[in-house]
């Protein structure tokens, strides 16, 4: 079943939306289960000032998109880039085996964000 983090973020995702002019966009898709997530960002001074998403996928992956947006909004790229694997894993709470692919989604969102915006990290 779904843990409380997933339930909250999935049943009332508050980062759903589109930006008319985004500073940056991350898109990932899981070729196997077909989940698709698009995150749009407003960035100022290497800070994420706004993050919104669109997603098509399973409950846990929708929740993951919301968790990700909340966790980056208001943060600097540098801070985000310092998150270790363990920290990232714990963001989704305890997952059932069949939900663990969402950890990959979450890491991929992180690594895409950091690698694509590495200007900020330097």
């Amino acid at each position: 079943m779904y843990n409380d983090i997933i339930v909250d973020n999935f049943s009332a995702p508050n980062y759903v939306g589109d930006l008319e002019t985004a500073d940056h966009e991350i898109e990932i898709g899981n070729p196997v289960c077909g989940d698709r997530i698009k995150v749009q960002l407003l960035i100022s001074d290497s800070q994420i000032s706004k993050a919104v998403f669109r997603a098509w996928g399973c409950a846990t992956s929708l929740a993951t998109a919301n968790v990700f947006c909340r966790s980056i909004e208001g943060q600097s790229i540098t801070t985000i880039s310092k998150r270790c694997t363990q920290e990232i894993s714990s963001m989704l709470g305890e997952l059932e085996p069949s939900q663990r692919h969402c950890l990959d989604i979450l890491s991929e969102l992180h690594s895409k964000l950091v690698s694509q915006l590495d200007i900020g990290v330097a």
């Binding site: 999935f10 196997v32 289960c33 077909g34 098509w56 409950a59 929708l62 059932e96 069949s98 692919h101």
Partner: protein, 391 residues
């Protein structure tokens, strides 16, 4: 699950709510511990419970009590029929005909016999409506065909298979024919006198009875080997001290089904027609998977694909936010591999249609009001998910 939550339960094909009457028939037997195999007077009551159940099941199926053998459920009954027939041909393993849409307890048993004992097998594909065709069975027949095993009603789509026709064919060719009727019993009437199949499986928890008990109907016990040998229960065909409590529950479940199956079916059919009309006139875009006509499918099952969403996410929102229980055609799996319905795949649905599919199944405790509330919620949640996806 509480009785009052039943109006949100749309997963009867997974398991049915146990009826109050069945519960009440079980409770007094829990304390009655006499071993039915003993010869003392207390054992007489245990034997009587078992005999009564055998009579009730026989009358439900219109056959003789001596042809009903109790098992621990549908899976054991299916394993028994398949292995019990095939292992008699171990010196000369021949050919099996089955379909791609069988339940795992048939499919994996057949696979085991093929891999392990050298039988060969033809897996029949259903047509796009989910139905296996008799002419395909006929074409698949070989001189060395030793077993045909085809289910009566598919658990995912509810689609009825042409069992009477296959039965006629099997009889003409003298080939043993096993029918997994686990999903049919309690939903439509079965008349074994008319049907003439050789083996038929059922499971109590699919028709308001307890889990852990089922039956195999065996027309001629001399043609099948036991799966569980031993102390001689069930005419030595199925040994093991009998599960008295569950068997007592099965008696009541069989009696109720026998008396009420037409009534239950009427209610189901009315709910199904209503649900389809509500869905058809809703703004969401759906496809029905498998036939939906009365004569082609169970009245309690609808399998639909809904454009723009994932079935898993819909089922999650239906349950988490509204306590509705439905089933899905595709789940995430722990190894990232696909975990999608072999039934829908066999019907050549696209992956997209499979991941967006849900199975809705209901039963005797479902009312048209429940259906109406359910569809309203379903439509709203589909729209919410589409909104999240931004399409």
């Amino acid at each position: 699950m509480e009785q009052q939550r039943l109006s949100g339960y749309f997963d009867y094909n997974a398991t049915t709510p146990i009826s109050t009457e069945v519960v009440e028939s079980m409770i007094p037997t829990i304390k009655h511990f006499a071993n039915p195999s003993s010869s003392n007077r207390h054992a007489m009551l245990s034997k009587k419970i078992i005999n009564d159940t055998r009579n009730q099941v026989a009358s439900l199926l219109n056959t003789q009590p001596s042809k009903i053998f109790f098992t621990s459920g549908g899976s054991e009954a299916n394993n028994w029929a398949v292995k019990g027939v095939l292992l008699n041909h171990i010196a000369n393993p021949g050919h099996i005909i089955t379909s791609e849409i069988e339940h795992a307890s048939v499919l994996s048993t057949v696979e085991y016999c093929v891999a392990h004992f050298g039988f060969s097998v033809t897996y029949l594909k259903p047509d796009q409506n989910g139905k296996v065709n008799v002419s395909d069975v006929e074409r698949a027949l070989r001189d060395d065909t030793q077993l045909i095993t085809i289910m009566y009603a598919n658990n995912e789509t509810g689609v009825l298979q042409p069992i009477p026709d296959i039965s006629k064919l099997a009889r003409d060719k003298h080939i043993p024919f096993h029918v997994d009727a686990v999903q049919l019993v309690g939903k439509r009437r079965i008349d074994l006198e008319a049907l003439h199949v050789d083996y038929l499986s059922l499971s109590a928890h699919k028709f308001y009875g307890p889990k852990g008990v089922g039956c195999l109907y065996i027309k001629d016990a001399s043609r099948i080997t036991p799966l569980i040998h031993g102390g001689g229960q069930e005419l030595s065909m199925r040994s093991g001290t009998e599960n008295l409590v569950a068997i007592a529950g099965l008696a009541k479940a069989a009696q109720d089904a026998s008396n009420q199956v037409e009534r239950w079916d009427q209610n189901n059919w009315s709910c199904k027609q209503y649900m389809m009309s509500l869905l058809d006139s809703s703004p969401i875009q759906i496809k029905y998977n498998g036939s939906t006509a009365y004569n082609d499918a169970l009245s309690n099952t609808l399998n639909i694909s809904i454009a723009g969403i994932r079935g898993e996410a819909l089922a999650a929102r239906m349950e988490i936010m509204h306590s509705y229980i439905i089933s899905i055609g595709s789940a995430c799996s722990n190894n990232k591999a696909k975990n999608i319905s072999h039934v829908l795949e066999a019907m050549t649905l696209s992956d997209d249609d499979i991941v967006s599919s849900v199975r809705i199944s209901f039963g005797r405790f479902t009312s048209r009001d429940d259906v109406k509330r359910f569809v309203t919620t379903l439509v709203a949640e589909v729209q919410a998910l589409i909104a999240i996806s931004g399409r």
